[in-house]
Amino acid sequence: MKNQRFSQVVGMLMVALLAVTLVLSVEQAVAAAGEINLMTWGGDFIPREIINEFEAETGIKVHYKEVTSNEDMQSLLEANPDQYDLAVVTDYMVDILRQTNMLGVLDKDQLPNYANINPVYHGPYYDPTDEYSIPYAVSTSLLLVNPAAVESLGAQPITGYNDLWQKELVNNVVVVDWSVEIMGVALKALGYEYNETDPEKVAKAREKLFALKPNIVRFETNTPEDSLVNGEAVAGFMYSNQAVKGVQARPDLAPVFPVEGMPIFIDSWVMSKEAPNKEGAYQFLNFIMRPEIAARIADLTKFTSPNKAAEEFLPEDFKNNPMLNLADEVLENTSFYIAVDKVLDEYEHIYLEFKLR
């Protein structure tokens, strides 16, 4: 008797559960018609207010998945290509995703606003035919320096990477935490190119790099500018958007474009080959390529916009900022980290030895 009642209750619960699941899945199917899934860096890399405006205008719901590395996006896209419509990845990752056949070809007929993109950014090495990617944010890595503090330590003014090796700067340099970039600093200081594979040059860069260890106070990828703002470090090698924030917080800090040259990054939109809502994705891309929207994105994120038509909408202080409005001679002295996969293993090993010193 008791048992019977028990099974009745269980049965009813099962039915209820089934009903709830059914309702939920129907709801999901309805919503799917009007939603897009995109993923990229967190920290408002695609400003929330821009997404809100897009949602209000089109009624398409935007799901924004925040990730911390290009490699995370690669694995997520590989695991579930049909769950993402769009992603913003860095140049070299466009190349990898293109080679591993993860990307859909972008139909330019659906993207009239693509005409706003500065032709300078057409046909990059990672996408020579412009079929798979649209540039979104351009940035560089550079040196942020506290000139007065450098002088008070008795060191020479910093104009390039080589100046970071001065022994007066012991425990006073902060750098972003990635093997390829830090090896790049050593390679450039020796007058070589990024991602060098020649064993002799790599060996020299390794020795050079080891000599830098005493000067480094901190490895920090997310907020290296803080160390200069609070005085822990007098010089730092970091991304341009971080340096911009550093100067905003403390105007006596100065950006230095290293004489040896510097890396450039082009974070670009790509579409998953199995994007479930290509229609919505095109609408979104068109939206963010509108000149005034692109200008606002640039100003909010502190990244240089590849959108030529956006320039007239940019505020004056943005246009006058040498880190954001890169001069031609600075731009000429930049280069990409190409073919990271060819050097990564060896550089990681060297970097490990470097850190364990």
């Binding site: 935490d177 990635w178 093997s179 490895f219 822990e232 996969d341 990564l344 850190k355 364990l356």
Partner: protein, 282 residues
């Protein structure tokens, strides 16, 4: 049949563990013998290369670093935690509950936030330096961040409640009449502590040490934030190899190696606590 019925309630959790811990673990183990191409994609080809690299001297130094940090964390938490646990166990019930509550309270806040709290406390423009500068005790900020010691402070702080609770249980179960007997036989407090209390609470110390040692091996974000990424521990190594290093098979080999280290520690603990009924793991 009787035992099956009695253990029926354990079946869901066993299925859960089997599905969500057992199977992934087998995956990781298999992965550690696979190769990958230069783009990071896993290639189904057997190799011992990852395991050879685990034994490479440079990587062994990472193990030494981690073991040193975990050992010192265990030591610090025991030395600092023992008096706290001892005093707490001897409090009257109401105060005792309050004390345990206060020890557990920080656990309600994300450990990442608490790590940032230490940065706010110890940084160059941090609270401690500001107070010392304001009082005129120092004339320029004391550099306290980004050292091995900073990481140690962070891991010890993060894990000390485990040590306190383990020792507390041990002290709490102590038979007070043994202490009275010791005093009756003319021993002073010091002698009683070292000859009676300490040996009897040894299983608690060993348990606390083990509970602290094991997670201390893997707390990578503490050394990233407080240590300034200046050296590499096992957790950091595995983290970088999975993400930016794009070498998941190598990360898998290190994870398995780390599990082996943990098992060794647990077996040592088992030896220390084997005569005691209050073991942690069986």
């Amino acid at each position: 049949m009787q035992t099956l019925k009695r253990n029926l309630l354990a079946v869901p959790i066993l299925v859960w563990l089997g599905l969500l811990v057992g199977i992934p673990l087998v995956f990781v183990f298999v992965l550690s013998f696979l190769s990958r191409d230069s783009l990071g994609t896993i290639v189904f080809q057997f190799t011992l290369e990852n395991w050879q690299r685990v034994l490479d001297p440079i990587y062994l130094r990472v193990f030494r670093n981690s073991l040193l940090l975990a050992f010192l964390t265990g030591l610090v938490t025991i030395v600092v935690g023992y008096p706290v646990a001892y005093i707490t166990a001897n409090l009257e019930p109401k105060k005792r509950a309050l004390s345990i509550g206060l020890i557990m309270l920080p656990f309600w806040i994300s450990s990442l936030l608490r790590t940032y709290g230490w940065m706010i406390l110890l940084g160059n423009a941090g609270i401690v330096n500001n107070i010392l500068l304001g009082l005129g005790i120092i004339d320029k900020p004391l550099p306290m961040m980004y050292k091995f010691g900073t990481t140690l402070v962070g891991t010890a702080y993060m894990l000390i409640p485990f040590a306190i609770v383990a020792i507390f249980n041990s002290v709490d179960k102590l038979d007070r009449s043994l202490l009275e007997a010791s005093y009756d036989l003319g021993a002073n407090r010091r002698q009683t502590f070292f000859n009676i209390t300490l040996p009897l609470t040894l299983p608690g110390i060993a348990g606390g040490f083990t509970l602290v040692f094991i997670p201390a091996l893997g707390l990578f974000y503490v050394s990233d934030l407080l240590g300034g990424g200046n050296t590499i521990f096992l957790g950091n190594l595995i983290n970088t190899q999975v993400t930016r290093g794009r070498n998941r098979p190598l990360a898998a080999a290190f994870s398995i190696a780390m599990i082996i280290v943990v098992l060794l520690v647990i077996s040592i603990y088992g030896k220390v606590a084997k005569d005691d009924a209050e073991g942690l793991f069986l």
